[in-house]
């Protein structure tokens, strides 16, 4: 299954793109996707340990199931709000 993963901020910068396509056999967990991202885009190795994953606009645990309809995003530590 090909997953389209949304990237933001430093993750987008490191990957050079706002979307990363990764191959990942389903059923899979967030942790499986994390491993697939690392294999596909080694440039994210440094920042990924600091990032959370989101499924369908909600933060997801490592063991959360990812399915074919999941909207997957990598969420670096946020810095909005006050300067």
């Amino acid at each position: 299954m090909t997953l389209q993963i949304k990237l933001f901020a430093v993750a987008m910068q490191k990957a050079g793109s706002a979307v990363l396509e990764v191959e990942c056999p389903l059923p899979a967990t967030v942790d499986d996707v994390r491993q697939a991202v690392l294999a596909t885009c080694p440039a994210l190795a440094e920042v990924l340990p600091h990032c959370r994953f989101a499924l369908n606009d909600e933060f997801a645990q490592d063991n959360a199931p990812v399915d074919a309809d999941s909207v997957v995003a990598i969420i670096p530590p946020v810095s909005g709000g006050a300067s």
Binding site: V47, H50, V78, S79, G81
Partner: protein
């Protein structure tokens, strides 16, 4: 109410939006762009956002705050895009009958917003370099 905007935040409109005849207190928080951080100078900032998730998280934030504190109204406005020093990136206003609730709720909202709402800031330093700001990730 929550809003994400690309334009200047209208402080007076934010204050008026939480007015309530039962309010004895209004607390407004503005997060503003520093031009000096330590010994570095900022030319401008760019804010990026995962918008559908940010709206969802901001709505959860407001709903959670209303269960935690007896407040009358809450307004959260976050600006995106290109900001100059002195401009506000976020405004949070809370009205309540008594001031303690408004202060506590306002502080909780901005503290939690900065952990849970997917909005990111890029510093455009005066030396021409650019840097995404990610708390806890300074070494990357």
């Amino acid at each position: 109410m929550i809003h994400i905007t690309q334009t200047t935040i209208d402080n007076q409109a934010v204050l008026e939006s939480v007015q309530d005849t039962r309010a004895g207190a209004v607390v407004l928080f503005l997060g503003t762009t520093r031009s000096i951080t330590g010994d570095r100078e900022t030319d401008s900032l760019d804010y990026d956002c995962y918008e559908s998730m940010a709206i969802r998280k901001l709505e959860q934030l407001e709903a959670n705050a209303r269960t935690k504190w007896d407040v009358l109204d809450i307004q959260i406005v976050h600006r995106l895009g290109h900001l100059l020093p002195g401009e506000a990136s976020v405004a949070i206003a809370v009205s309540s009958a008594h001031r303690g609730n408004a202060f506590e709720c306002g502080q909780w909202l901005i503290d939690t917003l900065k952990e849970e709402v997917p909005i990111w800031k890029k510093e455009n330093w005066s030396d021409g370099t650019h840097e995404w700001v990610h708390p806890g990730m300074e070494d990357s």
